[in-house]
Symmetry: C2
Subunit: 232 residues, 2 copies
DNA sequence: CTGAAAGCGCTTACAG
DNA sequence: CTGAAAGCGCTTACAG
């Protein structure tokens, strides 16, 4: 086909405001150009951590000419070229995803045999704890989520690892459990104070925010009187 | 069709893991079940304001069995049942949306004749400013975005309205312009100090964060030495 | 190289 | 009431 004709065709497309129908294309190509992000159970679309993840996913897929569909609840998923599952927890039924022939990646490790991506939870907490130790903090408490998720265990392990590495005795009384929210951090704060820490390592940023809020209310100055570090 | 048969059919659907193909459905129904959110020009998918909006939109549409597709750049839009355009600014070409037969709503007022939703910018700033006045602040500065967008004008008007209402003389020297970012707030802070305000009304939350940061660096205590209020 | 035909997986109007 | 056929808007293999 010669170029002049091609140009004319494009001009006419423009004039008629023609746009190919993606549904028709998807039907014949068996390819939708859509990646589906499924927000599972516990995760809220308002969770800041999720939101940050999402915006990066959107930005990346958009650049690569993929559309991204966001849904709550995996049972609602429909055909697409791939799925990213977020907010899945240990007890959830994953069998579903194995049945489907849609490529699926979980965000966050589970103990089941499914593809996933995750951050290095253990290393993150190791670095945070070790940093405090290097800066001469002696009595470092750890607050984490009262949950059996792999990432919680790993983060706790990172804390332990740093203590061991620096030959500091591990004391279970310095490990505190709460729920993953600002309120969670705040409500556990007074209890943590009982072990008179000079630093608190928080398993999540939300908990750290709660701890900071708790300190404010007690007129404890951060970082002068108490060091707080969070991670996510 | 009798119920037993219906149940059998559903069971078989389950067993075969059958799911209707939405592309085929869309093709015949002329309805995609998809609302497209288009992120325009200046807006980043990382902007916290946008992100909060987005998560509410997702939550709402998800409940109503709509899928939401997020894209950057309006030229990429494809067929869908409706579009929400975010981050459009004054100079942008809107003609496009009028040509298309897809129902479209802009987020944020423009001076062109298109459907939009927006918050009451003027009233918001009026309330913020008036609140400070009611609380005995005398010398209230205003920082806003160095931009010609309608929402900027409206917010400035709200500030003026509150002053007028309280019979406080309007002084242009107390209005400052910067760009909409934490850095923007921070960089204008010292200049604002020159008019010795006891309170600063910020046209956006990002600017307010910058102002607070600037105050911190000068060891100015908020809210003891200086009141800061933001809005978005 | 060009153009008509078949087919993607559905829904709905229509014939039997 | 049931079942076959047409058609949604594309792409691609195929006939000419």
């Amino acid at each position: 086909m010669n170029k002049d004709l091609l140009v004319k065709i494009y001009e006419e497309m423009e004039r008629l405001n023609y746009r190919p129908n993606p549904a028709a294309r998807a039907l014949v190509n068996h390819k939708t150009g859509i990646i589906q992000v499924v927000i599972y159970n516990k995760l809220s679309a308002k969770d800041i951590y999720f939101i940050c993840l999402m915006s990066s996913v959107i930005e990346y897929l958009s650049k690569n000419n993929y559309s991204i569909i966001v849904k709550h609840g995996y049972d609602k998923f429909s055909n697409c070229d791939g799925m990213i599952i977020m907010g899945l927890s240990q007890g959830d039924d994953i069998a579903m995803f194995k049945k489907i022939d849609i490529p699926t990646v979980l965000f966050g490790k589970t103990e089941q045999n499914v593809d996933y991506v995750d951050i290095n939870n253990s290393q993150g907490m190791y670095l945070a704890t070790n940093y405090l130790i290097q800066n001469k903090y002696k009595n470092i408490a750890f607050v984490t989520i009262d949950d059996n998720e792999p990432f919680c265990k790993e983060r706790l392990n990172g804390y332990f690892k740093a203590l061991k590495y620096n030959k500091i005795p591990i004391k279970k009384e310095k490990v505190f459990l709460t729920n993953n929210s600002i309120e969670g951090g705040q409500s556990i704060f007074n209890k943590i104070l009982e072990c008179a820490p000079d630093a608190i390592v928080c398993s999540t940023d939300l908990i750290a925010l709660g701890i900071i809020e708790g300190a404010k209310r007690k007129d404890i100055n951060i970082p002068k009187d108490l060091a707080v570090i969070g991670f996510d």
